[in-house]
């Protein structure tokens, strides 16, 4: 039913091919999960991708078309998405506008909202996991780190999300976090879209805390109750939060509503951080310019 035509990528646990679905000639991607060399059987990342993608059907979440076993390998047939947001951001020959940014952000938030209303955390949102279809639709991909929102008695690992996009509670080792970690990642992606360079590029995990607080201010117990509980808190430098004027200077093209939204997504205290619904219904999305229609996006 499926042909593997060209290898387009290889990672630690999978090889990705581009191919065709024979019955309707649809272009597809096949992620062939390596099964040998994993002493604990099928890899957790593979389990997560299969488990969560099977449950979600949304225009802004990558479609898992099929799953099959062949030659003792697990194969995930995914929709073919030729580009990703990282490519667009890095390629300086591609010019994009505020309307384009708004469109990508809107689609990202819709995808995140869909995950969260299904009580699924993505936990690895970053530009190269936001894939772009030929029709311009942006889709959340790579659910290898995804999981159900934690039950109250569960302790989650804080070692999730790629460093530059990692929320402060994760940097401090929190084990009972919520969807707010995904919103933080989206906030960083929003900033990166506006700046066209990574916003908080820490060199290592320790440096990431410093980079984050230098840019956004060090939180205190007053604005984030009990943050001093975290062991790592006492070792950090104290920085003041940026003034609005500083943010305007940094994000020159951003409107006030854009800055409000970004600040809301990058609120230190996860309790106060915006939810997907609050983001989607923010003034930013109803002020001009309108978000670019996906088919018109670069």
């Amino acid at each position: 039913e499926y042909s593997k035509e060209k290898k387009v990528g290889e990672g630690t646990y999978a090889v990705v091919y581009v191919g065709t679905k024979q019955s309707d000639e649809r272009r597809i991607a096949i992620k062939e999960i390596k099964t040998s060399g994993f002493k604990d059987g099928l890899d957790m990342s593979a389990i997560r991708e299969v488990k969560y993608l099977q449950e979600m059907q949304h225009v802004n979440v990558i479609e898992l078309i099929d799953v099959f076993m062949a030659q003792n390998n697990l194969n995930l047939v995914l929709e073919f998405l030729p580009a990703d947001l990282e490519m667009i951001i890095k390629d300086t020959s591609i010019l994009f506008t505020q309307a384009d940014i708004k469109s990508w952000l809107l689609m990202t938030l819709r995808g995140v909202h869909h995950c969260h209303r299904n009580f699924i955390l993505h936990r690895d949102l970053k530009p190269n996991n936001l894939l772009l279809a030929l029709d311009g639709q942006l889709k959340l991909a790579d659910f290898g780190l995804a999981r159900n929102m934690g039950s109250p008695q569960e302790s989650l690992t804080s070692n999730v999300v790629t460093r530059w996009y990692r929320a402060p509670e994760l940097l401090f080792g929190a084990r009972h976090y919520t969807g707010a970690v995904d919103i933080w990642s989206v906030g960083i992606i929003f900033a990166e879209l506006m700046l066209r360079i990574p916003y908080l590029p820490g060199k290592d995990d320790i440096d990431q805390i410093d980079v984050t607080f230098r840019a956004l201010g060090t939180p205190t117990d007053r604005d984030w109750p009990e943050i001093s509980t975290f062991g790592a808190y006492n070792k950090i430098q104290v920085y003041p939060p940026p003034s609005r004027e500083e943010l305007r200077r940094r994000f020159i093209a951003a409107t006030e509503n854009a800055l409000d939204l970004m600040s809301g997504m990058l609120t230190m205290n996860p309790h106060k951080r915006l939810s997907p619904i609050q983001c989607l219904t923010s003034e930013y999305f109803v002020e001009l310019p309108e978000p670019t229609a996906p088919s018109e996006l670069p």
Binding site: N72, N148, Q153
Partner: protein
């Protein structure tokens, strides 16, 4: 829930479920007959007595016997998971995986014992309760090979659908909503006891076919009905507008805002569904160990006629 794989892949009518089991059994029985035929052909020197012994002992198990054996081992999964201190949801998922596995595989092809640890280990991974296979095998007093041998077959048999909605969260939800709807009219210590009792009953219900016929919240409501009918009926009256004679009170002018919210539900139909669910849960079969031993022996002889 309608979008979930649990609904789309693992919901059946009783008739369809029977048909699936019958087909699986028939297909496996035909293979057993073929094996026995081949056995007799390749052992022409058997005495008549020996032939009759094989013919009487190496008999394919029936659909009902398959179900008894599967349920016996499913029950063991729950108690084994308890001994290993695994979370309730892990045990429930393991039971779900185990029972679903035997909707496309016969015990005659793969004895339940062979996938027992596999389903538990896989459930641990699926429910984010990762234990390394070495550690798991040690605790379970088995080998890593035994744990992993049929993992892919399990995954295929599950149609690669791994998400489970169990009635436990629904129980917690109703526990909260009952407090709101019956505010001030229910003793909290009593509610706590009801919750604890229902949680145990849910584990039993997962061993019945109710999981295929009803949704998790329907199973929860059925268990609540079994635990305290008066409480449940009062809740349904206030929440869904159920009249005391069991009819919906839609159209009555003085409905509360709760009832207005819940007016999307036909209360009497819901009650009927819940009662049906209750009857399926109540008619659970608890297979006796002796039956399991006899059925296992039959399977053994089918696979190894020479053992007779």
């Amino acid at each position: 829930y309608r979008h979930s794989t649990q609904y789309r892949n693992w919901s059946f009518t009783p008739e369809r479920l029977d048909q699936i089991r019958t087909e699986v059994n028939a297909s496996a029985s035909a293979r057993v007959e073929e094996t026995l035929k081949h056995f007799f052909e390749s052992h022409p020197d058997l005495s008549r007595e020996e032939e009759e012994a094989v013919a009487s002992k190496a008999v394919p198990v029936t659909t009902h016997e398959e179900l008894l054996l599967v349920n016996y081992f499913a029950r063991m999964i729950i108690s084994f998971a308890g001994k290993m201190n695994l979370p309730t949801e892990v045990a429930a998922t393991a039971v779900a995986f185990f029972r679903r596995f035997f909707l496309s595989n016969s015990v005659m092809d793969l004895p339940p014992k062979e996938v027992f640890h596999t389903t538990l280990f896989f459930a641990c991974k699926t429910e984010n309760y990762f234990i390394g296979v070495d550690s798991f095998a040690k605790k379970a007093k088995t080998t890593t090979e035994a744990v992993l041998k049929h993992e892919f077959k399990l995954l295929e048999s599950l149609n690669f659908t791994l998400m489970n909605h169990h009635p436990y969260k629904a129980l917690h939800g109703f526990f909260l909503d009952i407090q709101n709807v019956l505010s001030g009219r229910v003793d909290m210590q009593y509610m706590g006891q009801v919750y604890t009792n229902c949680k145990k009953s849910i584990s039993d219900a997962l061993l019945t076919d109710a999981v295929y016929f009803f949704t998790p919240p329907q199973i929860t409501l059925a268990i609540l009905l079994m635990e305290d009918e008066a409480l449940m009926m009062r809740y349904m009256q206030l929440k869904f507008g159920l009249q005391q004679d069991g009819d919906a009170s839609a159209g009555q002018p003085s409905q509360s805002s709760e009832q207005q919210l819940a007016n999307g539900i036909n209360a009497s139909k819901l009650l009927e569904v819940v009662k049906n669910c209750k009857s399926v849960i109540s008619s659970k079969i608890i297979p006796a160990k002796d039956d399991a031993v006899k059925i296992t022996a039959k399977i053994h002889y089918c696979q190894n006629p020479m053992a007779v």
